[in-house]
């Protein structure tokens, strides 16, 4: 594709250049020819005048002709290029040069080119017609010589510019070659392929720059996708491995009822965990596919928090976390179930990742046209390094994976989606060892 582009560019370039050179050379040759013919015409004019003057009527009704010098015979031979002829008023040939071709009487006076010769006919006394002519072979040769030189020059110029053009087009298209190489590597699965950029001022290099940026984003997207799939498979396969190992063990031989109970207990816990991961994944998948329709209606944020706290109180007691809530009046238009998910998520994180004897503080209040929800805990906190990534899917700041907390790293991703879907913002501040502070702002109606 590339070489043909280069060849085609060059072909057009050559065609145009050849046309220009040919037109120019043709015009110059023509003008040169014309100027030579004009010179001949002037000479013929002078000769005609001389002949006309040399033509004297005699008393006998015919003429005496005194030839100008250039028409006189030299050593019995006529001059090589010029000739003349004279006819009387009755159209009879009176005199002519001793030349070996016929000169037909001209139908009209004036200049004409005839059979490679230039001729001029004028009328003189008593209706006589004087014709002078000159062979054009000499000047034809001259013009031909000039044209040959011009053609040779033109061909040389064309060849040189072709060579230069090949080089220049190649140079200009070099980034295209690099772009296509990088794209080919990319297609072959090497996502780290980038286009080498040499001179940034060139338009094609700008294209390469833009493509590199696009490649970067593609690479990132593919990496994220891969990581997501690997994480999802990890979150599902690990409990599945537990279940399968437990069942295989239980079935290997007769076990006591306590052993069966413990085995079923563990399996059930693993199944529970898988269910939770699957549900959350489905929630996110539906959210991605924009299939999740929100049943929006005016709903008070305070009562939602109240309900969520009711559900989570036993967990808080178990973890010995004290809850302190101050719920102001703030109504938003939103999906009650989703908002409950959001609040439950944030609150259960604040309890799960708290220390025994820790605090959980929830506030709801109106502020301007926003309804604010703030969840603060005195838990383990999130490091500055993890903080920007906590809303990513499967990202867990809690590397210890206290798996009994049941988290798969999807809760905050879902929380963020719910907040986004309601046109709000969610922000998180945290200090390791001190606690985490999450602020949600949603558009408020009252």
């Amino acid at each position: 594709m590339l070489s043909s582009l280069r060849a085609r560019l060059l072909l057009w370039y050559t065609l145009i250049l050849a046309l220009v050179i040919a037109t120019f050379a043709g015009t110059v040759c023509y003008l040169f020819w014309r100027s030579l013919v004009d010179d001949v015409d002037q000479g013929l004019q002078g000769s005609a005048v001389g002949l006309v003057e040399g033509l004297r009527p005699t008393d006998f009704g015919d003429f005496d002709l005194v030839l100008p010098l250039e028409y006189r015979e030299i050593d019995g031979a006529p001059p090589p290029l010029t000739y003349y002829a004279v006819w009387n008023g009755a159209g009879e040939l009176i005199d002519r040069s001793a030349i070996d071709f016929e000169i037909p009487m001209p139908a009209a006076t004036g200049a004409r080119t005839h059979d490679g010769r230039r001729e001029l006919a004028v009328t003189a006394v008593n209706g006589t017609i004087v014709l002078v002519g000159r062979d054009l072979r000499e000047i034809q040769g001259e013009v031909l010589g000039f044209a040959t030189t011009a053609a040779a020059g033109g061909i040389v110029a064309l060849a040189l510019s072709l060579l230069g053009g090949w080089f220049l087009v190649g140079r200009a298209l070099a980034p295209v070659a690099r772009i296509s190489q990088a794209a080919a590597r990319m297609t072959a699965g090497d996502l780290s392929a980038r286009i080498a950029i040499e001179r940034t001022e060139n338009e094609l290099e700008q294209v390469a720059l833009a493509l590199n940026q696009a490649f970067d984003r593609l690479h990132l997207a593919v990496d994220n996708e891969r990581r997501f799939t690997a994480d999802a498979s990890h979150e599902l396969r690990t409990p599945l491995a537990t279940i399968s190992a437990e069942l295989e063990w239980a079935l290997a031989r007769e076990r006591s009822s306590d052993e069966y109970r413990r085995c079923l207990d563990t399996s059930s816990r693993a199944a529970q965990r898988m269910r939770s991961v699957v549900e959350r994944l489905l929630t996110l998948a539906r959210a991605d596919a924009a299939e999740m329709s929100l049943q929006k209606a005016p709903v008070g944020l305070g009562p939602i928090v109240q309900d969520a706290l009711g559900i989570l109180r036993p967990l808080a007691e178990q973890k010995q976390v004290a809850i302190d809530a101050e719920l102001g009046a703030a109504t938003v238009v939103g999906d009650r179930d989703r908002l409950t998910d959001l609040v439950t998520n944030l609150l259960s994180n604040a309890i799960q990742y708290n220390h025994p004897g820790g605090q959980l503080r929830v506030d709801v209040w109106p502020e301007g046209d926003a309804a604010c929800l703030r969840v603060r805990d005195t838990g383990i906190g999130i490091s500055a390094e993890d903080l920007p990534r906590i809303f990513e899917r499967f990202y867990r700041a809690d590397k210890a994976r206290t798996t009994h907390s049941g988290g798969a790293g999807l809760g905050l991703a879902i929380a963020k989606w719910i907040v986004d879907a309601h046109g709000g913002q969610i922000a998180c501040e945290s200090v390791v060892g001190k606690g985490t502070d999450i602020l949600v702002r949603l558009p408020r109606v009252t």
Binding site: A230, S233, R237, T238, L240, A245, W249, T266
Partner: protein, 218 residues
């Protein structure tokens, strides 16, 4: 044979421990990478079953650092990550085998046994010693085709001595290979088992090197 199972998912680790102990392995459990690396460096495990996604230090780093420290214990990677790059990376860092979750317990056990056999330079599960045939996979000893009744510990000691045939195995080493870290072992327990083995297999097979340990001649 003593194993270290590195798995942060506690339920799975428990299930593995139970299953492997039934297969007469002495099993230690480690729930994070740093602890695992410490144990691998301290104990002469016969094999390690290693998860990759671990808190504190991931499985690749554990593997890499253990190998860098010159530890040649066979390692089987057991993980939920099934991306080919992950496997290749694990194997290139010095893992001996790879199993993806979920897995069949029987396959895990067979792979661990195979790894240990290879590490002791014998790829076959059955060992022949005089008129004794020892099947390490079926956990059986036969003399002239007739099975002998050995306890799990006795079998483990016999297996260890046969694998190390021709060299003296210290009592401490025997303890390390047949008990896990939670066992509270009396100092003469090995002697008791060896005495029982001699009763069942004949007095000449296992010889005592005073102050050093036991040996089965090559």
């Amino acid at each position: 044979m003593r194993l270290l199972v590195v798995e942060d998912e506690r339920d799975l680790a428990d299930a593995l421990r139970r299953a492997l102990e039934e297969e007469e392995f002495a099993v230690d459990i480690s729930g994070d990478g740093e602890d695992a690396l410490f144990k691998i460096r301290e104990m002469p495990y016969d094999a390690v079953v290693l998860d990759l996604m671990l808190p504190r230090l991931d499985g690749w780093s554990v593997l890499q650092q253990a190998r860098a420290a010159g530890i040649r214990t066979p390692v089987l990677i057991l993980t939920a990550r099934d991306v080919i790059d992950d496997r290749v990376r694990g194997l290139n860092l010095g893992a001996d085998d790879y199993l993806t979750k979920p897995f069949a317990l029987a396959e895990l056990v067979a792979r661990v046994r195979a790894m240990i056999r290879r590490a002791y330079g014998n790829p076959v599960a059955t060992l022949q010693l005089g008129d004794l045939t020892i099947d390490t996979a079926a956990r059986e000893v036969r003399r002239h085709g007739l099975p002998l009744e050995l306890t799990a510990r006795e079998f483990a000691i016999l297996e260890l001595l046969i694998r190390s045939r021709g060299s003296v195995v210290a009592r401490a080493t025997i303890c390390e290979h047949i008990y896990n870290e939670e066992a509270d072992v009396l100092s003469n327990v090995v002697d008791v088992h060896v005495a029982a083995l001699r009763r069942k297999l004949g007095a000449d097979l296992i010889r005592t090197r005073r102050g050093e340990g036991y040996i089965i001649d090559a």
